[in-house]
Symmetry: C2
């Protein structure tokens, strides 16, 4: 039985700020980075996990990972999978460390890296990709991976079991559909805020030629500039393609309403992160005022309690959680179930480094086992840094093909870790 | 002109878990700790600041403080006080570091330590205590210390100026009242959850003899036990003293309503932290269901956007922010103004280590310059660890006497820092 004997950490950073890939209204110079974690077992089986950051501060997340050694090292895989929710709560509610959150910020990002490394370890031990490991679980086992605290006023454990049971009959067919067709995606690579117009036009044309029909555009604090950029993209992609816009938290509530309504002629499907990610009531007010444009948020919504309220308040149309911002897959499963209960589509946040690799598993679990639907659902895609992974994502005709290798697809190539290690790797010392 | 040349950090921890002082329903073994920061100027003038933690993880906050050196070191005091809001935003919205929050968790705790050290530096440079520095500011200067982003749907900068102007005429008289009588306090030291009944009874009697008439009691997950403890405290303190109860986030929303209503016979003034600190809508539901018991929260509410919503949703009766959980005094001033606009009393969270020292300044600013009221207002007091401060709090007849030494009262004695340094100090090596 594998036993976790140590946690190894790596400070992995790509120097993406050189190209302005990933630039937006508030993140002007990101260096896409991973606080990277390896659970050692003394043998060849290892659990790999990471959380995503923008560069500076990656070392702070790794300090938090080391603080989590105490509740993890020494456990066997059976200790963990025997009561996965209790294991997760040991991480998320450690009696002294919880003051640093609770369940938010650096300590929750670290919880995600460690929890997802455990999922990787478990899936490898069973010889399955994570999506298949979870999709194959009986309903009681799946809900047993979730810490249900603070959710019962919106969704009880028993309701969740009933929901999973009701969707169980179609699981095999949906899995076959995914293996044949893949999961629908949209592309963000064309519209980074730091890109000049001619580059945006060229990337739109290139993406159209590659088969993409759904495009996300970054907008910012200058409303006239936003209108101009959306007009360019709409002109390039034509009337029938889908456009989404993303403000990355740039606006106050009143500004958001005014600036989003100025984009109505270009018919965006959603406005993403119009204001503070903590502002549930603000999103509710914006949503009421910008119809028929939908409201999307979640990459900075930090835990299941925030999503519970976004859903209770009918504040969003699209649920965009991030598998690292939430405390890993355990909490992502809770949000999938909440979204299914409230009838809202989940479109996971991806991009960055490793987030597409993680996100495909979550999207597949949602379709095969939880919501059973593809309506209004699509997974973000950005064309960065996939070459660093042992089992990178595979896209075909704008859809993610399900990974088949055991684990969570997050293991990085040894030579990539060496090259991207900050500050000594060749990426930084050159 | 003083210039910040370096940030020195100290990992200061008191071994309070030995006595169960500070124990509650979810924090069972706290070691009251300070991520302690000194802004060096190359001369004898220094800025001292800290944020509070429960022990493990204190080193993670200090790693975050070091990550904030970049936007701080090299600035002069004039650079900062010339546009205090812009300085604060440089900390809270650093383009890469903000991913670690934004404005929450470890990076925000670190922002608080650094921002409050700047306030200490500024106040010492002017030879005033911080409360006096702020209370003496013209309205425009005070609101110029606040980052107004995300607030305009609830309170604009202009409204805040008007509010301060309307209260300005009574400032001198209120200051004189404070210097004569002090600010009202309540005591938490009697009712820690880990204390046996006879110790609680003895501490209640002792506190009554010292003049205390307001007492807070910790409650937990066992409703019958809560009823029993409240009955004991009510019996000891009599019918006319004030009792508050504090659940430290132990319950789901439905449980909170049931368990709080079971305490109605003992007439607590408020239930504090009945559920997740992120659950604005949950607090709203609880408040509606437990009247006439009031709802209080805030020591884990992480920024001004959360307080904005708690007030917009009429979800709480008492605003209990923590000057370290928020990003320091700049953000605390925003919440004081929001609370004044919505007509809710602020009763700052204190206790721990250093929080009473900080909290007295905030409470004095609220009374003298912002709300102008003492109605339903009182500052928490716990009788721990004040001996470690150069200018410790002074209480008389259950009231805080205003500090008169320049600064934020947070400078620790050099021998205390040495003794409490983790893990090498005598507190830990003995």
């Amino acid at each position: 039985m594998p036993k976790i004997t140590a946690i190894t950490t790596h400070d992995v950073r790509a120097r993406t700020s050189r190209t302005l890939a990933g630039s937006d209204a508030v993140h002007t110079d990101p260096d896409y980075s991973a606080a990277y974690v390896v659970l050692e077992t003394g043998g060849s089986l290892r659990g790999h996990g990471m959380t995503f950051t923008l560069g500076r501060g990656n070392e702070v997340v790794l300090a938090a990972v080391r603080a989590l050694e105490k509740p993890v090292v020494g456990l066997t895989l059976d200790d963990i999978r025997g009561d996965m929710a209790a294991f997760w709560r040991r991480l998320a509610s450690e009696s002294q460390l919880r003051w640093l959150g609770p369940e938010k910020g650096v300590i929750h990002l670290a919880t995600a890296a460690v929890a997802n490394a455990v999922w990787d370890l478990w899936a490898k031990a069973e010889g399955k990709p994570v999506w298949k490991l979870v999709a194959d679980m009986p309903p009681e086992q799946l809900v047993g991976c979730i810490d249900w605290r603070y959710l019962s006023d919106a969704l009880t454990r028993d309701e969740a079991v009933d929901l999973l049971r009701a969707n169980a009959p179609g699981k095999a067919e949906r899995e076959a559909t995914m293996l044949r067709d893949g999961y629908p995606a949209y592309i963000t690579s064309a519209g980074w805020l730091g890109y000049p117009d001619d580059k945006v036009r060229a990337l739109c044309r290139e993406s159209l030629a590659q088969g993409w029909r759904r495009f996300k555009v970054k907008v910012g604090r200058d409303s006239a500039e936003n209108v101009r950029r959306c007009a360019i993209v709409r002109e390039e992609i034509g009337e029938h393609a889908v456009m989404m816009v993303d403000a990355n938290q740039a606006w106050d509530v009143g500004e958001a309403i005014e600036y989003v309504n100025a984009l109505q002629p270009y018919r965006p499907l959603w406005i993403e992160e119009p204001t503070s990610p903590d502002d549930i009531l603000g999103h509710q007010a914006i949503r009421r005022a910008v119809h028929p444009i939908g409201v999307a948020t979640g990459e900075h919504a930090h835990n299941r309690v925030m999503f519970k309220q976004l859903l209770q308040a009918d504040a969003i149309d699209f649920v965009q959680f991030d598998n690292c911002r939430l405390g890993g897959l355990n909490e992502a499963l809770a949000v999938l179930l909440l979204a299914a209960k409230f009838g809202k589509p989940v479109c996971p946040h991806a991009g960055g480094i490793g987030l597409c690799e993680y996100g495909q598993h979550v999207a597949l679990i949602d379709y095969i086992a939880v919501s059973g639907s593809l309506d209004n659902r699509m997974l973000e895609f950005a064309d960065h840094l996939h070459e660093h992974f042992v089992d990178p994502i595979v896209l075909r005709d704008g859809r993610y093909l399900p990974p088949t290798a055991p684990g969570f697809s997050i293991e990085m190539r040894a030579e990539s870790i060496a090259a991207l290690t900050w500050p000594g790797g060749s990426e930084w010392s050159a």
